[in-house]
């Protein structure tokens, strides 16, 4: 093979360029922490990275949906539990008041307490989270258990139950927690506290009980114990529903948290270089580069001219 000076110079620059290009690529990988910076680096890897990142983003959103719903449900659970104790206290009073041995002034005192309990229940039934009323169905912006004359939070004097109108609706609000799967998170006031003018609607029962206590009507008081049981039952049923929803969301959230870890791992496997690998490649490439430069330097220098004469 005939070798010319241009070939040597050409090879020197080509090789130096190639080595530098590889070094630059490795340096880039280390500096950016990415081995794929554009689709043509690795079309399949790009596709997978984009898919994984999209899935992660979506799952983060589902986690957020779950957290929002959980907050709502936890608050609902607390409110229902309070409502239960309020009504349970009323039942206690009713049981006591039903006993004929009670003096009428004791019954009056009980009636006063029941009246306050009813007011408290109204406050509970108008609970809100971030300005959204939780027991109003989709009527979230106005108090769902309202009395026209008295505005919440503490109506005084306590209005009659007939005036406490339920202005919410029965619509369940749900949120998407898995693609295509939604989970309802609200409890319409009607299902927790009873409908319109039903005798066992919580507000109505408490008002009837109050009246019966004032009148010393033992039969009526005893009857209201039964109605209170129905109302209490309704609240505990709703609490059970809420509890099961919270459990389901907890399970989902845990699953998403686990999935997020494995998705992130796969994403970094796809996108990020193996650090130790790249560093050792860098060292190797560096020494090859230096060797090639050194070799070139030795070859380029001498010519026949140096030895003539």
């Amino acid at each position: 093979m005939r070798v010319t000076n241009n070939m040597i110079f050409g090879a020197t620059t080509t090789h130096a360029r190639n080595h530098l290009e590889k070094l630059f690529g490795l340096q880039n990988q280390l500096a950016t922490g990415k081995k794929i910076t554009r689709p043509s680096d690795d079309p399949t890897g790009t596709d997978r990275a984009m898919l994984l990142r999209g899935t992660l983003k979506q799952q983060e959103q589902y986690q957020e949906n779950i957290r929002d719903a959980s907050t709502w449900l936890t608050l609902t659970d607390g409110a229902l539990s309070e409502a239960y104790s309020v009504m349970d206290r009323a039942r206690e009073l009713a049981v006591r008041g039903a006993n004929d041995s009670n003096q009428s002034d004791e019954r009056i005192a009980m009636a006063e307490e029941v009246k306050q309990l009813r007011s408290q229940l109204q406050v509970i039934a108008n609970s809100e989270i971030n300005g959204r009323f939780i027991f109003g169905g989709t009527m979230t912006v106005a108090q769902p258990n309202r009395t026209p004359a008295f505005e919440m939070p503490y109506p005084d004097p306590v209005p009659p139950a007939t005036e406490i109108a339920y202005t919410g609706n029965d619509v369940l609000m749900d949120t998407e927690v898995v693609p295509g799967v939604t989970l309802p998170y609200n409890t319409p006031g009607a299902s927790a506290f009873g409908q319109g003018t039903d005798a066992d609607r919580a507000f109505k029962v408490l008002e009837d009980l109050e009246l019966a206590l004032r009148n010393g009507d033992s039969t009526e008081i005893s009857q209201s114990i039964g109605r209170l049981d129905v109302a209490l039952n309704r609240v505990s049923t709703e609490r059970a529903v809420v509890g099961s929803r919270i459990n389901r969301l907890d399970l989902l959230e845990n699953r998403y948290a686990d999935a997020a870890i494995s998705y992130k791992e796969r994403l970094s496997e796809t996108e990020e270089p193996e650090f130790a690998d790249v560093v050792s490649q860098l060292m190797q490439q560096e020494s090859v580069y230096q060797a090639s430069l050194a070799a070139s330097a030795r070859i380029i220098q001498p010519s026949l001219l140096d030895y003539l004469r």
Binding site: R38, D42, P43, M50, T175, P179
Partner: protein, 494 residues
């Protein structure tokens, strides 16, 4: 024995030959780094000997050499390697253009990353999701509006940059056509000059080198075939038709095409196809008209057929489909106060048409209008059950997983698909550039092996011819002494 001044002639010829060789050596060394230069060698042969009669017979029994003679100066070149280089060059040119422009397109989309279009699509749908949990909150509505506006802006920007890139590519095509015409006219001129020199029996080394260099440069821009004729002229063909026929050149014309702002290359009356023309021009045409493709929403566009696989088309389809799906839901929805919306969420901000490409999509200006606009984002179904009704917001958020772009493809699937296809094109172009670069590197090394100048050789030649010159001069000296003896030292004349 005959005697003449023959010896002097031989010596002088030797000196002349040595001098010619030294001159050529100097020329070689001086042009060692000249692009396209082939080293030259002096073609020397022994001069025809004089017939010498013998003592007793007129029949030639021996011949005395008359020295050397210079027949010409040849360039050392393997024409076959040139043909190979020209053939491979077109492929390299094409793939270099592909690799360069695919990279630029990839830069526009900037994927995979946390900031590309796919991330913005995710954020857009996420914002609607968040709205389903808080339809009454103005802050969350503002996030939906901002994310939508960001997405629309990113689509506008991508469309704008793709169109700009097409314009740049078009400029490159026009420049390349100009270059080719220039090369072709120079080749035609050189053809004439070379033929003239060769008819006179001379060697047109420099002119041949120049012509080969022009052909090599041209072969990167388009796929050329060359035929060498006996008169020294080279005919250059493009897809079977003569671009240079001896000294006649048929120029490529640049003519505006149906798209108005863009150009066709016309050769010999016909618009050339990108496959026929090949080389980097072919690749640029393919990039402009197929890979990026035409923007069918541009006012000047619809004259030419649509390019359904072009990136602009895919991006436009994505933007349009997104707008149509979101709008259909949004129009059917109702506002927080229960009034039906009837309003589009996305609009074509250029023409107001109901369809829109990536370059025209924008959030409805009514919605963009301050705090009042936020209330115009529809979240509930019709009829609405209350302010907390999020039927429509949920449906829009669920578009993310809906097969809107085909039997199974969601928006993001579609976007990923066309980016992956682009990546494959880019990857194969980059690979081809590497491989083809190797092939050409190898060929040019072989060319260099034949035609390149090696300094050591030239130096050795210099020493050799210097000695030859000195020896011839010494011979002349000797003849001088002999003649001196004969002329001045002999005879009765003195």
């Amino acid at each position: 024995m005959d005697f003449s001044l023959l010896g002097i002639n031989a010596a002088v010829r030797g000196m002349t030959a040595a001098q010619t060789a030294l001159n050529t050596m100097g020329h070689n060394v001086a042009n060692a780094n000249t692009e396209g230069y082939s080293r030259q060698r002096v073609n020397v042969s022994a001069a025809s000997p004089l017939p010498t009669p013998g003592f007793n017979t007129p029949v030639r029994i021996a011949s005395i050499g008359a020295g050397t003679q210079v027949n010409g100066i040849n360039r050392l070149r393997d024409e076959y390697l040139d043909l190979q280089v020209r053939r491979e060059n077109a492929t390299l040119g094409a793939n270099e253009a592909f690799a360069e422009h695919v990279k630029l397109i990839e830069d526009i989309f900037h994927e995979p990353s946390e900031t590309g279009l796919s991330a913005l699509l995710d954020e857009f749908f996420n914002a609607w999701h968040t709205l389903t949990s808080n339809p009454e909150a103005p802050g969350v509505r503002a996030v939906v509006r901002d994310q939508a506006a960001t997405l629309a802006n990113a689509l506008n920007d991508a469309s704008h940059r793709l169109n700009t890139q097409r314009e740049e590519i078009d400029g490159q095509i026009r420049n390349a056509a100009t270059d080719i015409n220039l090369f072709a006219s120079q080749i035609a001129q050189l053809n004439v000059q070379i033929a003239e020199v060769q008819v006179g029996g001379g060697s047109a080394n420099q002119l041949l080198d120049q012509r080969d260099l022009l052909l090599e440069k041209m072969s990167k821009l388009i796929k050329v075939q060359t035929v060498q004729h006996d008169d020294g002229k080279v005919w250059v063909y493009l897809h079977g038709r003569a671009l240079v026929a001896g000294n006649i050149q048929t120029p490529l014309e640049v003519r505006p095409n149906g798209e108005g702002a863009y150009s066709d290359i016309v050769f010999d009356g016909d618009v050339v196809d990108q496959k026929e023309i090949g080389g980097s021009i072919g690749a640029l045409l393919e990039l402009r008209d197929q890979i990026i493709g035409r923007d069918r929403y541009r006012p000047t566009a619809p004259v030419l057929p649509d390019t359904p696989n072009g990136i602009l088309h895919r991006l436009d389809s994505l933007a349009n489909q997104l707008a149509q799906e979101v709008n259909a839901l949004h129009r059917s929805g109702s506002l927080t106060d229960g009034t039906p919306s009837g309003r589009d969420f996305f609009v074509n901000f250029r023409t107001g048409a109901s369809t829109m490409g990536a370059g025209q999509i924008a959030v409805n200006p009514d919605i963009m209008n301050g705090t009042a606009g936020l209330e115009l984002i529809a979240t509930g179904g019709t009829p609405s059950s209350g302010p907390g009704d999020t039927t429509i917001a949920k449906a829009i958020a669920a578009l993310r997983n809906k097969a809107t772009m085909g039997p199974t493809a969601t928006f993001e699937d579609d976007y990923r698909n066309f980016l992956a296809a682009l990546g494959v094109t880019g990857q194969s172009a980059i690979r081809m550039v590497k491989n083809q670069g190797e092939v050409l590197n190898h060929l040019s090394q072989r060319k260099e092996e034949v035609s390149g100048v090696n300094m050591d050789e030239e130096m050795a030649d210099m020493v050799r011819y210097q000695h030859a010159y000195q020896a011839s001069a010494r011979a002349l000296n000797t003849f001088d002494e002999i003649l001196d003896r004969i002329i001045n030292g002999l005879g009765a004349g003195r």
